[in-house]
């Protein structure tokens, strides 16, 4: 029997799945087992679209279709929890198993706190993530820095500090991520700042770091992070779908080292990126200047995992005059004041900004200031955000009185 805190190497019993999937196909096997066994009604994962740069969300109810999601796509920059909120009724009455990067996992918690997702109905399969590259940027980088036609690439990966591509003729090319990012290529800026590399908020955290010895490349390192995760893992093993073994002790050490190296890199990137923002009044001026080109496309709001209000304040005429483009700074102030305490640095507001405003950089910098002031860390647990205390004193009282841990209890 597994328990929270356990570590195992895991791989698919089915040879086909082990071949199709990444690192022995454990994640695909767990998803498929959850669906076949009836533990969930659907699986939400990502599959390859027109090519390996195109990550497409797939809501799957037929176990056979899970195979399509096998393998990893480092150019997938989707945020799946917002899709669960928008298109799956927040998993209100359907059970869903979902794959989550670090930012996805944090988004899941923040949406759950706001009662937009019912975590009881979700099995969270975490995926270790060293960062992702936007698809069009990846193609540009491969053409310009790797001097390779991006259409001839059959595999890309990030390993040992390098971005590596494999072409049709099985040639490997790798360039140090540091070098790429210094020249403006590489991972999304928010990924560079990210420090959630192993998403332990999930029920299981899966990845290839620390798989050494005879299982190297053929098994997934799984960390059991919750009872729910332990139950799924045990059931998949018992059901004959998954095989596991103890990890090589040195593998555990290596995994820790990889994670620490990534965290240090995250600190370095934060320092570099935030330094360019200046401080105090200079920072405000910079933010006002950069946001002044906003064309009010609403993509930052539509794709933000913290935004969920039916009546968004940016659409209240007494705060922001409708139809005015460029919108007044108040539009952005509303975003900052409503989101910054809980920003989980997923990068969507920047990646999808029609005018390439570095929204995520601004919001993340504010979040870290708020974190220093109030001690609230978003996305790691079910602790309530700072603003809930300010805006919802009545709610707060209700929570204390009833012992409920969900704010804005719309499901009740």
């Amino acid at each position: 029997m597994s328990a929270k805190g356990d570590f195992v190497y895991a791989w698919a019993s089915d040879a086909g799945m082990a071949e199709r999937g990444e690192c022995g196909g454990a994640v695909s096997t767990l998803l498929k087992y959850a669906l076949v066994s009836g533990m969930v009604d659907a699986v939400l994962a990502v599959k390859k679209g027109v090519d390996l740069y195109d990550a497409v969300p797939a809501l799957i109810t037929d176990p056979a279709d899970v195979d399509e999601t096998a393998g990893s796509l480092h150019c997938g920059t989707l945020l799946l929890p917002k899709l669960i909120k928008k298109y799956c009724d927040g998993a209100k009455d359907k059970k869903i198993a979902v794959t989550l990067k670090g930012c996805d996992a944090k988004a899941m918690y923040e949406l759950a706190k706001r009662n937009q997702i019912n975590l009881d109905n979700i099995i969270m399969i975490g995926l270790n993530c060293g960062g992702s590259v936007s698809p069009v940027q990846a193609r540009k980088m491969i053409a310009e820095k790797f001097e390779t036609d991006p259409d001839t690439v059959i595999k890309e990966e990030i390993d040992k500090g390098q971005f590596i591509i494999v072409t049709e003729d099985h040639e490997h090319k790798g360039i140090k991520i540091d070098d790429l990012e210094e020249e403006g290529y590489g991972r999304r800026p928010n990924c560079q700042r990210c420090k959630t590399k192993i998403p332990r908020q999930c029920d299981l955290a899966c990845g290839n770091w620390g798989v050494i010895g005879e299982k190297a490349g053929q098994a997934t390192f799984v960390e059991v992070c919750s009872e729910k995760g332990a139950t799924l893992l045990d059931a998949a093993v018992k059901g004959g779908a998954l095989e596991t073994c103890e990890p090589v002790p040195q593998g555990l050490v290596i995994r820790g080292k990889v994670e620490n190296a990534m965290l240090k890199l995250g600190d370095k990137c934060r320092a570099e990126q935030f330094e360019k923002l200046g401080t105090s009044e200079d920072r405000l001026k910079l933010i006002m200047d950069k946001t002044s080109r906003c064309i009010k496309c609403y993509q930052c709001i539509e794709n933000c995992p913290i935004c969920y209000c039916v009546e968004c304040s940016t659409k209240k005429p007494h705060l922001v005059t409708p139809g005015e483009v460029n919108p007044p700074f108040m539009f952005h102030l509303i975003r900052f004041s409503h989101i910054s305490d809980s920003c989980i640095n997923c990068g969507q507001c920047e990646e999808l900004c029609a005018m390439d405003i570095p929204n995520s950089l601004f919001m993340h910098s504010l979040q870290l200031e708020m974190e220093k002031m109030f001690g609230f860390v978003p996305g790691v647990n079910m602790d309530l955000p700072v603003l809930a205390l300010v805006e919802e004193p009545t709610e707060r009282r209700r929570l204390t009185d009833t012992g409920d841990d969900q704010i804005f209890n719309i499901f009740a």
Binding site: D41, K86, I295, Y298, Q299, N326, E351, C353, A354
Partner: protein, 526 residues
């Protein structure tokens, strides 16, 4: 419970952004980013994001109509098609005018071209056919420019193209903008040249100073007005003189494709042709047309449809399979995300049905068959297949820019009766013409901008006692309209701006006519 993303191409401007339609249990419920999009990297402007709303627009029609005793009444497809073929068959080819929306797919437009041939009419045109055709490589490459001259308000008319101007500026390019007011585009500029009516071409010539470096661009946003070709010619001239690349951006999403596949006869000449007694209008809002017989096929009850003799209900972009060609001449796929409502058919299918009743079976089973014909007949499209377009579409190599001769922009003479210079300008919330019909059917866009307005300078407003929302009558030598005031610091004193668009029966053209600018007086509604 089913959910999937289906990628398509935006039906508004000619930047040709692609995005996803979120389809839940068979119905389009939202727009979503398509991160892999070769034109816009998953980003969209508000029109693109909320375009999905038009599928459920209030103005949609789901049944054919025939005019009986002066009023449009619902009828069956059988009755409508029989009526169309019987009536239109009575006119000789030169008596029939055929107009394709520049927002329709290549397949829809090409099928209409075939019908025009069947009818013996060579009066086949599109509102996009204004005699300007210029593209210079990919829109994305504009980000690498050394210098850019923008003529027009691209930030509002073609927002994701303006993004590339902003990118270039961030990379150190110098930006010069020629516009009628300090617009969001002008705010991106290092040098802003305010164009006064009648001197647009001189303002463009002045902007030539802004063309620097080896990699220079001149970008021209085609607006509404009868002098667009002259201003475009001035812009092309400075580009050629200084060796800059020249881009002209059609207002219509598939304006380039409409001209490519054959709707190339100048719109002005067709509309002015007095021999024409019958019109066949596909998806284009042309205002009320007076003729013996007017057939309209459209997704919405446009003003043209309200005045037509027969109205045939057609699918919207989200229900359409096909291709569109954007301003950079990239041919891209629209994938059908949902079935049209019961009783509604895609444009190409309606036309094929009409044609077969007229005795010509076009032999099209699906849009892909139409596309096969296009690839066999249309220069630049040869060898293309739907499968080959899946990834990045296909960017047809640039051709020599062509701009036809048109009327010069007229100087606007103000006097005591008409003391204010009014100019038309794009808004980000609505498109021109047919695209205005689209935005009117997207509630979120309407919430932002529910009316046509007139923007005037804050000093002028103070002097007249106007505040935001004051209802005023704008009167020119040809007509008048009542609109609310928008007080703007960015508009020069003594001038005013008005969105170049139609909202149902209200149209800026009531005051401006075919002109982009004119003299008006603005008085508070009593």
């Amino acid at each position: 419970m089913t959910f999937r993303y289906v990628s398509t191409v935006c039906p508004f401007c000619s930047t040709g952004c692609s995005f996803n339609l979120a389809v839940r249990n068979g119905a389009v419920v939202a727009g979503g980013p398509y991160h892999r999009s070769p034109v816009n990297d998953g980003k969209t402007c508000p029109k693109g994001h909320y375009a999905f709303e038009m599928s459920a627009g209030n103005g949609r029609i789901t049944t054919p109509y025939i005019r009986k005793d002066g009023a449009l009444v619902e009828c069956s497809w059988e009755e409508a098609l029989a009526y169309v073929t019987e009536k239109i068959g009575k006119y000789a080819g030169p008596e029939i005018g055929v107009v394709a929306s520049g927002h329709a797919t290549n397949e829809d437009i090409y099928t209409l071209k075939r019908l025009a041939e069947t009818l013996g009419s060579d009066n086949f045109t599109s509102p996009a056919s204004v005699g300007i055709d210029a593209c210079a490589g990919s829109i994305a490459d504009i980000a690498d420019a050394d210098s850019i001259v923008v003529v027009g308000n691209l930030a509002l008319s073609h927002p994701l193209t303006a993004r590339r101007v902003a990118n270039a500026k961030d990379n150190g390019a110098t930006v010069t903008v020629v516009d009628t007011y300090l617009s969001p585009t002008a705010k991106l500029a290092d040098t802003f040249i305010r164009a006064t009516p009648g001197s647009e071409c001189e303002a463009v010539a002045q902007a030539a100073e802004g063309i620097k470096g080896e990699n220079a661009y001149v970008l021209f946003g085609i607006s509404a007005g009868d002098a667009e070709a002259s201003i475009a010619a001035a812009a092309l001239s400075i580009a050629e003189e200084k060796g800059a690349a020249f881009f002209a951006f059609p207002a219509e999403s598939n304006g380039r494709g409409a001209m490519d596949v054959g709707a190339a006869k100048p719109i002005e000449s067709v509309m002015a042709d007095e021999k024409i007694k019958a019109w066949y209008i596909m998806g284009a809002e042309m205002g009320p047309l007076t003729a013996d017989f007017v057939v309209v096929q459209d997704s919405f009850m446009t003003v043209t449809a309200q005045h037509a003799d027969v109205v045939l209900p057609a699918a919207v972009f989200a229900e359409t399979e096909g291709t569109a060609t954007n301003a950079e001449r990239r041919v891209q796929r629209l994938h059908q995300a949902a079935e049209p409502p019961e009783g509604v058919k895609p444009h190409w299918k309606i036309i094929a049905d009409v044609s077969s009743r007229m005795g010509t079976d076009l032999g099209y089973e699906n849009p892909e068959a139409v596309f096969a014909d296009i690839t066999a007949q249309i220069k630049g499209y040869d060898g293309l297949t739907y499968a080959a377009l899946e990834k990045d579409g296909f960017l047809i190599p640039p051709r020599k820019a062509t701009v036809t001769v048109g009327p010069e922009p007229a100087a606007v003479k103000t006097n005591d009766e008409f003391p204010v210079v009014l100019s038309m300008t794009p808004t980000i919330w609505h498109g021109f013409g047919s695209a205005g019909t689209y935005s009117m059917n997207c509630p979120t866009l309407m919430q932002e901008s529910p009316d046509i307005w007139v923007g005037i300078n804050s000093e002028d407003a103070r002097e007249k006692g106007f505040i935001n929302g004051t209802m005023v009558t704008v009167t020119s030598d040809i007509g008048a309209m009542d609109v609310p005031v928008k007080v703007m610091e960015t508009v020069a004193p003594g001038t005013a701006i008005i969105p170049a668009m139609r909202m149902g029966t209200t149209c800026a053209c009531e005051v401006t006519g075919k002109r982009k600018t004119c003299a008006v007086r603005i008085e508070e509604v009593a």
